[in-house]
């Protein structure tokens, strides 16, 4: 036990001695938490909208005003020809072009029917779909108004049947994406820091040549590993704590469930990550290799965690792969406990998987660490 304490002491000293590292461990992640949590939204706003008005009547102007009044659209320019408009779209200046045909008003009054042409930049397919929905909504609104003001008695027919859908967003009524993103990004940052630090740790001693000195001492394998990993476990908790305080104070993220449960889960989660880091460290010769491999896994963990893009949309084989992603579990636990107030019963399946994962990772790490070359 005493030996372990000495190793832990040595590790802490080494970490805190390197003045360049401290801000990277503590300031950089938290700064990113504060700034980047604001970036992750699919809520489409400020759509770069332009129009070509070939009709120039009061009705066409009224329609454009409708778009102007909407908060979704940012009415930029009015082009005189389609050629000009497409060129602007190629340049990336506009994303939506509305073309109002000549005789728009006349046709509507005479034929009671007219059409508009809309061109949408669809490189981002999902955004284009939403933009199309917004445009349809505005035009439909405009339709209704026009129907009321132009309505004539002979038009009176049966009332159409109407299925009214009433949306209701639970746990997050205002659809504030930050309550979702802040805990998620915190998870990513804690994972990155602990994995990178533990992944580089032993291989660094290997590269500098001090590992040999450690190996000739009577320190036992398990003492060495516990001593190496404990400091990062503590750092992980410290980051989580500061991050949670930030999310409460700055973002006012609700914490519905029990904080104790989150910490309890984190204790096991960090073991998975640290075991993984150690495993990488044992299998590489240089810090560079260790970092590349750690990076490889972190990028996969981040992008397949279900935080930025939904897991249900992935093909089936990719969904199976996400079962091996510890970050996915942590994100899910944070979401369930913090936002929905789930208790131990609901998260038990995730919990068991995490504990199993931790056992496997650490067994591998201990097995692959050899005192003799």
């Amino acid at each position: 036990m005493k030996t372990i304490l000495y190793i832990i002491q040595k590790e802490f000293k080494q970490i805190f001695r390197n003045k360049g590292m401290l801000p990277i461990i503590f300031v950089l992640p938290l700064l990113q938490l504060v700034i980047l949590s604001n970036a992750a939204t699919f809520e489409i706003q400020n759509i770069k909208f332009s129009y070509i008005d070939n009709d120039k009547t009061s009705l066409s102007r009224e329609l454009v005003d409708k778009f102007n009044a909407s908060t979704y659209f940012n009415v930029l320019t009015d082009f005189s020809s389609e050629k000009e408009a497409t060129s602007a779209m190629l340049q990336g200046d506009v994303d939506v072009i509305l073309e109002i045909p000549q005789y728009f008003e006349r046709d509507l009054l005479k034929d009671k029917k007219t059409s508009l042409s809309v061109i949408i930049n669809a490189i981002d397919g999902a955004t284009a779909g939403v933009e199309n929905v917004y445009i349809n909504q505005i035009v439909q609104d405009f339709n209704k108004k026009a129907q009321v003001s132009l309505f004539q008695p002979e038009d009176l027919k049966l009332l159409p049947k109407n299925i009214a859908s009433i949306p209701s967003f639970w746990y997050n009524k205002t659809l504030n994406y930050k309550t979702f993103m802040v805990p998620g990004i915190l998870v990513l940052l804690v994972t990155m820091i602990t994995l990178f630090l533990s992944g580089m740790n032993i291989v660094r001693e290997k590269e500098i040549g001090t590992l040999e000195q450690m190996n000739v001492t009577p320190i036992k394998k398990h003492q060495f590993i516990i001593g190496k990993l404990f400091p990062f476990w503590v750092i992980g908790f410290a980051l989580l704590t500061i991050g949670l305080i930030i999310s409460k104070v700055i973002f006012n993220t609700p914490i519905v469930g029990s904080l104790g449960l989150i910490y309890f889960y984190t204790a096991f989660y960090l073991l998975v990550i640290l075991g993984m880091g150690l495993f990488i460290s044992n299998f590489t010769d240089t810090q560079q290799q260790a970092m590349f491999i750690a990076w490889f896994f972190v990028v996969i963990f981040i992008l397949m965690s279900g935080l930025f893009t939904p897991i249900e949309s992935m093909p089936q084989w990719a969904q199976y792969l996400t079962e091996f992603n510890p970050v996915k579990y942590f994100v899910e636990v944070m979401r369930m406990v913090m936002l929905k107030g789930a208790g131990i019963a609901e998260i038990t399946p995730l919990f068991l998987k995490t504990i199993f994962y931790a056992l496997v990772m650490n067994a591998l790490a201990v097995w692959s660490y050899k005192k003799t070359n």
């Binding site: 390197n18 360049g20 980047l36 604001n38 970036a39 992750a40 699919f42 809520e43 400020n46 759509i47 190629l90 990336g92 009671k112 007219t114 059409s115 508009l116 042409s117 809309v118 949408i120 669809a122 490189i123 397919g125 284009a128 939403v130 199309n132 129907q147 027919k157 049947k161 109407n162 299925i163 859908s165 949306p167 209701s168 967003f169 639970w170 746990y171 997050n172 659809l175 504030n176 309550t179 990004i185 990155m192 240089t286 810090q287 560079q288 970092m291 590349f292 750690a294 490889f296 972190v298 990028v299 279900g306 893009t309 249900e312 949309s313 992935m314 929905k340 107030g341 789930a342 609901e346």
Partner: protein, 368 residues
């Protein structure tokens, strides 16, 4: 010049000697592009929903079938009371619950209006919003079907045309992004440790007493990596053409030129990090921690930049990846030439020159 060539040769030896790193370097990006190209999408598919049908009549059954048969949703269970909604959400699999009011059909016929409540699990607001939109549009379509015989007068019909990506494939959005993120991070990581490594190994002293100038050291360090990164870029472009069926509407030559420019940009950013940090550990933590999330989040790779708050939109200007993604999409999907993207090209070029000058300035010719 001969000295300089000798130095470059040394760098090449260093790199090719470490076959393990080389293997990682070429294997990883391929694996990632393949994985992400298929797996990352912000469309929704097969979302599990539950139904709370208080009416249980022909109309509700028809609507439920309509929704369950779409590729977006699969109806996983029927629930029978309010309290169950809470519990299915807490389990986490079900993302939305559809609640039909009592006597749905009768109300629709008699009062010509009936309510469906769409309750979504908004702990993930982005998905919740999309799910809600999709369900409402299915309901709307159904509404139009039952109203087929009634003609509403004064109708303006918007006819939308989706350009550059008529099938709304999300691959077109994500493949350029994945390519950018991988090139940026791999390149910056490679060079970020190049100078610190010499410092840590003690060989820096030898470099400093040699007659090679700082400028030459920096160029010499970047040079070999340009080749490695170009190979990576070519492989990624080939994958995107042949596996993901990305069109290359514009000139392949221009695409190559822009990619090389971007690679040099990322490599010089790595060198800059290298000159500023004292140990490999610091250098790698800066290039990994400092670059990873900002490049993923602020480049427009996943989240549209136009929707972000103003300060973040301004910060996104200094992310080179943002400009490269614009260029890639413009060449690959819009098929434009240099005359449309010269601004973005100049910005990346300017950033590169800035990084190199700053690296030369920061390069210390004395040991501490």
């Amino acid at each position: 010049m001969k000295r300089f060539i000798g130095f470059i040769r040394k760098e090449f030896y260093h790199i090719f000697r470490d076959t393990r790193s080389l293997f990682i370097l070429f294997g990883m990006p391929i694996a990632q592009v393949m994985l992400f190209g298929f797996a990352i999408t912000n469309e929704i598919n097969n979302v599990d929903i539950a139904v709370f049908d208080k009416s249980k009549d022909a109309t509700t059954q028809e609507i439920i079938n309509k929704i369950a048969s779409s590729k977006y949703f699969s109806n996983k269970q029927f629930i029978t009371n309010e309290a169950e909604i809470e519990s299915v959400f807490k389990k986490g699999k079900i993302k939305a619950v559809l609640v039909f009011e009592k006597d749905f059909s009768q109300k629709l016929i008699k009062e010509s209006v009936a309510d469906v409540q769409i309750i979504t699990d908004a702990t993930d607001p982005n998905t919740a919003n999309t799910v809600n939109n999709y369900i409402s549009s299915i309901l709307q379509k159904y509404g139009q079907e039952i109203n087929k015989d009634i003609k509403t007068p004064y109708k303006i019909i918007p006819e939308s045309r989706m350009v550059y990506n008529p099938e709304l494939k999300s691959v077109f959005m994500f493949v350029p992004g994945v390519m950018t993120v991988i090139l940026m991070l791999v390149s910056a990581m490679m060079t970020s440790i190049s100078i610190t490594r010499e410092k840590e190994m003690g060989t820096m002293e030898i470099l400093l007493v040699s007659p090679i100038k700082p400028f030459q050291v920096i160029i010499g360090k970047v040079f070999p990596y340009i080749f490695l990164s170009i190979i990576n870029a070519v492989v990624i472009i080939l994958l995107s053409i042949f596996i993901f069926k990305m069109p290359i509407e514009g000139s392949l030559f221009l695409l190559g030129f822009e990619s090389i420019l971007f690679i040099i940009n990322a490599l010089s950013l790595g060198i800059l990090i290298s000159t500023m940090s004292s140990t490999q550990q610091t250098a790698m933590m800066i290039s990994l921690m400092g670059l990873m999330l900002p490049v993923i989040l602020l480049s427009g790779f996943i989240f549209p930049i136009a929707s972000m708050p103003m300060p973040l939109q301004i910060i996104s200007h200094i992310i080179p990846a943002k400009w490269f993604i614009i260029i890639l999409k413009a060449i690959m999907l819009k098929g434009v030439g240099l005359s449309y993207i010269w601004k973005e090209t100049l910005i990346i070029l300017g950033m590169t020159i800035f990084y190199i000058i700053l690296s030369v300035k920061k390069y210390k010719i004395r040991l501490e």
